[in-house]
Symmetry: C2
Subunit: 296 residues, 2 copies
């Protein structure tokens, strides 16, 4: 459901990795002028070769004529932006981000720019870097925004148009609930999966390790996929969503203790009933993306 | 690498679910005579309609002429076999099983039949039942055996031929190491994944639950897949491999506590290094099935 974005100038993208690069390809494909700002000259060369924007530079003046700027940089840089970047953002432009936690982003940006809109397109894959951007990344995926009482409504509408233009489902919530939900659905699974790999790593019997390698099947592969994912991203999640993550970890530990009690007390009927319940509840979490959803 | 099996009589399969049904289809496809014994008349009808064996019955006398019988029944029934089944197994036949834990199986069967060979084809999928058997399930998958000092060597060789004939990789180990490895690689991941689903289930904020459903992506889907799997199988794993599972759970909890400490103390460089290490070690557990492997 792609629609035009109401923009007379160009759209700036800061960072041309998976999200930024995909945005550049998509926005050009619907006829818009895109300007890309990247940090390193070698990245600029690769981004130019891939055609991720019509103009790409390491000089922040490339953003001068933009009326919408998307900050698609890693969370660390987003939360600690350079003064050069801050100075290069036109005051009249709408500025949005793609960060995977929203509280710390708003703490930084609500004072830095009058037209800042916090947003989070849920469109990651395991890939990253200037080679990973692709068409179709946002189609039918949720694009969450966490506006505050002082968020500029016209700016919010512009980012809404952007999300709809790329085929995303626009979701409105607040940053606290967003950050708790991503802790539950994304950051805790990363931790749980990492701990599973570390458990294997702490096994001392070489023969058991070798046998485990032989018998590891799709169940193991699936359960450990995000624990074996991007270390920078995993660290960034834990660093910037620490309190929500630790809260979900406490809840997770209670679940684990409970299951252990059921096993130790050999309540097998109860154990089976719980597995039946988790199987049923899981299905409501898989592929249930609504078209439009306003949560508060 | 399919090779003929040295068998003059027919091959009996007890139970025609995913593993038994797949074995029936495969063995017929290489020209062998297969007899299927099932518990319920309705299952027999469906198995006949699907052609899972040339002859299928609920009467155990169907095994009379078999010189190889494969027990493809659920672990509970395998460990507590009916007297009818025990009586129906020809004394001269080689008998093997497909159970996913080997210690309890050997405790039951080493005294029940002189030519019993404990084995475990690692070829499960999420499906089960008489409709799920399919060609190709065992191809290039490990088929583990856990012989003991008094295992009949000719019987062992016959099951070896069976595994090779179906394209499996034949692996020899002992039941203790097998059961510890499956706890680490299969039963612990099931528990870890179930606990993750229960953590979501224990969230009380309705908006966070709804938002979590919206943003749940492939990472969540992967990590919870086996926790949302077959409840009977999960219970059977926990019931029959309890001590190995609880041991790995203790080790897992130490890994989780360790990661929590690193987060609480904000040692982000250390956290990233650990994620880099688990990412690297995971790759050695994925798709590393050797052609032939003897572990002890």
């Amino acid at each position: 459901m792609k629609q035009p974005i109401d923009t007379s100038g160009c759209i700036g993208i800061v960072g041309l990795g998976l999200i930024g690069g995909s945005l550049g390809l998509e926005l050009q494909s619907i006829g818009l002028q895109v300007r890309g700002l990247v940090h390193r000259p070698v990245t600029a060369e690769r981004a130019k070769a891939r055609g991720l924007a019509q103009k790409i530079s390491t000089n922040s003046s490339i953003l001068n004529d933009c009326d919408l700027v998307i900050l698609a940089i890693p969370l660390d840089k987003l939360i600690n932006p350079s003064s050069d970047l801050i100075g290069a953002l036109p005051k009249s432009a709408v500025v949005t981000d793609v960060g995977s936690v929203k509280g710390p982003v708003l703490n930084t940006w609500r004072e830095l720019h009058p037209k800042f809109v916090a947003s989070h397109p849920m469109a990651g894959t395991a890939e990253s870097g200037v080679e990973s951007g692709k068409i179709g990344l946002f189609n039918k995926r949720p694009w969450i925004t966490t506006p505050e009482s002082n968020t500029d409504l016209a700016a919010l509408e512009k980012v809404h148009q952007l999300a709809i233009a790329l085929g995303s489902h626009w979701i409105t919530t607040n940053s606290e609930k967003h950050d708790q939900a991503v802790a539950l659905i994304s950051h805790l699974p990363m931790l749980v999966s990492t701990a599973l790999l570390q458990t294997l790593d702490s096994e001392n019997d070489h023969q058991i390790i070798e046998l485990s390698k032989i018998i590891a099947s799709s169940g193991f592969e699936d359960t450990t996929r995000i624990g074996g994912g991007n270390p920078e991203l995993g660290t960034s999640m834990a660093m910037h969503n620490t309190s929500a993550l630790l809260e979900t970890l406490s809840s997770y530990r209670r679940s684990l203790n409970h299951l252990e009690e059921v096993i130790v007390s050999k309540q097998w009927n109860k154990f089976k009933e719980e597995l039946q319940h988790t199987k049923a509840m899981r299905s409501s979490f898989i592929r249930s993306v609504p078209k439009v959803n306003v949560l508060d």
